[in-house]
């Protein structure tokens, strides 16, 4: 390991060779495993592979499916015989961490084609039974030292938001601009859960969940699943009928305390370290990035993570997003969450960032239809788990690289 790659993984000749997904929304007739299987089959076919080619499998598990070895249950459904398997419990950081582990395995030769899949039927399978739980969820924090005060996932982020407002003067309107912008993107995405356009006033007038976060500051929870395949680029790129693979340039993880109470600084996250290490490993900087896919489980998350990925100074995230997402902003150097993000594309609760990866791949393949960003040739995908506790990033390059 050289100095340049400390804290990050850089591999050559490894890429994302196939993607597949279901739409996000309500899928009342489908189990969690049905959704996983559907997305995986699409990804395998997209890569031009057969199930016999897939020898690695990584999943993010399920809240409704209690099977013991989830990744192997998916493999069983698909008729796989894996040499490498894992069910990753890193919350919303699982998808990019999975890219890292898959890239390491493929580069090393431990596996030829690693299937990564994530999704769930959280909306129809879990939350429909309890309306109060639809927006908030139990088990947000430490079961003994946090949850008993009545903590919910939104209130974890609300504590972060309130502190960011206190330290930097971030405003509710600036947070709301993230929600409005994500909905504009999802409006153009037939796979998205929430597509109706909204404006700042609607966000600010939506019911308060945990001050200062309104309902429309929070992502929805959705049924759906996505999958992608990591392979040697040379394994699939000769087939001219298939889209070219998207190279994985660098990946990195950096994690803080698992619980918010023990997180010393609520407004600066370990994403700073993960991003810096990944950029250094592949010799790029934020200025080289055309597309950023940040983990926008809540509006405040997008604001903080755009700071921590290095796209603006610490504390400037509020004005930065306001400017970036202004309706008539015109072409900007940076495109963010072109699919609508978790905020509007939706979130199955288990590694919803997998759709960030899929959209990044479509953009870099020049296959994003009327969402296509011209000249897209470099993307960073990020994911975070817990309340901005766990972080993983992946830097992806152009298909002609």
């Amino acid at each position: 390991m050289t100095e340049a790659t400390a804290g990050a993984t850089r591999v050559d000749g490894v890429g994302i060779t196939g993607v597949g997904e279901t739409a996000l929304g309500r899928h009342p007739g489908m189990t969690s495993m049905d959704l996983y299987v559907a997305s995986a089959v699409r990804a395998i076919k997209d890569a031009g592979l057969r199930n016999a080619d897939i020898d690695g499998v990584v999943t993010a598990g399920s809240r409704t499916d209690g099977t013991l070895m989830h990744s192997l249950a998916l493999a069983e459904n698909l008729g796989l015989e894996p040499r490498l398997a894992a069910t990753l419990a890193l919350g919303g950081a699982a998808h990019c961490a999975a890219i890292q582990y898959a890239a390491l395995a493929v580069a090393n030769g431990a596996a030829a084609h690693v299937l990564v899949a994530a999704g769930d039927n959280i909306l129809t399978g879990l939350l429909s039974a309890d309306p109060v739980a639809r927006v908030t969820a139990t088990g947000a924090g430490h079961p003994e030292f946090e949850n008993p005060v009545g903590l919910s996932i939104p209130s974890l982020y609300a504590l972060i938001a309130r502190r960011h407002m206190y330290e930097f003067g971030t405003t509710p309107e600036q947070l709301a601009s993230v929600s409005v912008a994500m909905r504009r993107r999802a409006h153009r995405n037939p796979n998205a859960h929430l597509r109706d356009l909204i404006d700042i006033d609607e966000v600010l007038n939506s019911r308060m969940i945990s001050d200062p976060l309104h309902l429309l500051d929070c992502c929805p929870l959705s049924d759906g699943a996505g999958a992608f395949i990591v392979s040697r680029r040379s394994a699939t790129d000769q087939d001219s009928r298939r889209p070219k693979s998207v190279p994985v340039l660098a990946t990195a993880q950096a994690h803080g305390s698992a619980h918010l109470t023990l997180t010393h600084d609520l407004t600066t996250t370990e994403c700073v370290r993960a991003a810096a290490n990944a950029f250094r490993a592949c010799g790029l900087t934020p200025a080289d990035i055309d597309l950023a896919f940040v983990y926008d489980s809540f509006t405040i998350a997008a604001v903080i993570l755009l700071e921590d990925l290095g796209f603006c100074a610490k504390g400037d995230g509020g004005p930065f997003v306001e400017q970036l997402f202004a309706e008539h902003a015109g072409a900007h150097a940076l495109s963010v969450n072109t699919h609508g993000g978790l905020m509007s594309h939706g979130h199955p609760g288990k590694a919803g960032g997998i759709f960030h990866v899929i959209e990044a791949v479509r953009q870099l393949r020049r296959d994003a239809g009327d969402r296509q960003v011209d000249g897209a040739s470099c993307a960073i995908v990020h994911g975070s788990g817990g309340a901005l506790a766990a972080h993983s990033v992946a830097i992806l390059g152009g298909i002609d690289a």
Binding site: A133, H142, E146, L159, M208
Partner: protein, 159 residues
């Protein structure tokens, strides 16, 4: 029933996380934290080893239940039905003078939270369950009698 034979794998003085002392202190109107016997740091959450030096030697010491408010949120949409009746309520993070941070409920006469940076202190008269709820109030607030203030300022509209 004959006593089970001791086997070599039976627990032999492994460090155990003693949480009960913490909860007992709250129930008695005090705030006790573990202090590492080797590096002398206070720690929270209660745990079996010191996260700084990994020592399992510690003692419990009462600390002043005083500190500064680091952040707060008023929860309107409660996470479960059990909490809905209490909503809206205020959750806060307090930086204790002892050097650790703790998540608490914040109580006040009108249900509004203190400003971030305010001095706050534990008001353990308001504990009301077997597992006491850590409740803090602003230093400058008038003396809150347990009868005057509900930890839950219920009666709000639907959640």
């Amino acid at each position: 029933m004959p006593e089970r034979q001791k086997s070599p794998g039976d627990s032999q003085e492994l460090p155990g996380g003693d949480h009960s002392t913490f909860w007992q202190s709250l129930a008695e109107g005090r705030l006790a934290l573990q202090r590492c016997a080797d590096c002398h740091r206070h720690r929270y959450f209660p745990s079996s080893v010191c996260p700084n030096c990994l020592s399992s030697n510690y003692e419990w010491s009462d600390v002043s239940p005083t500190g500064k408010l680091y952040s707060h949120t008023t929860v309107y949409r409660a996470p479960t039905k059990a909490f809905s009746d209490e909503a809206p309520y205020v959750v806060g993070l307090v930086d204790l003078d002892a050097g650790v941070r703790i998540m608490v409920r914040l109580a006040s006469a009108d249900g509004s939270p203190p400003e971030i940076g305010s001095s706050v202190h534990g008001d353990f008269r308001q504990v009301h369950t077997e597992r006491p709820l850590p409740v803090f109030v602003e230093d400058s607030s008038p003396d809150l009698g347990a009868a005057d203030v509900e930890v839950a300022s219920g009666g709000h509209d639907d959640v």
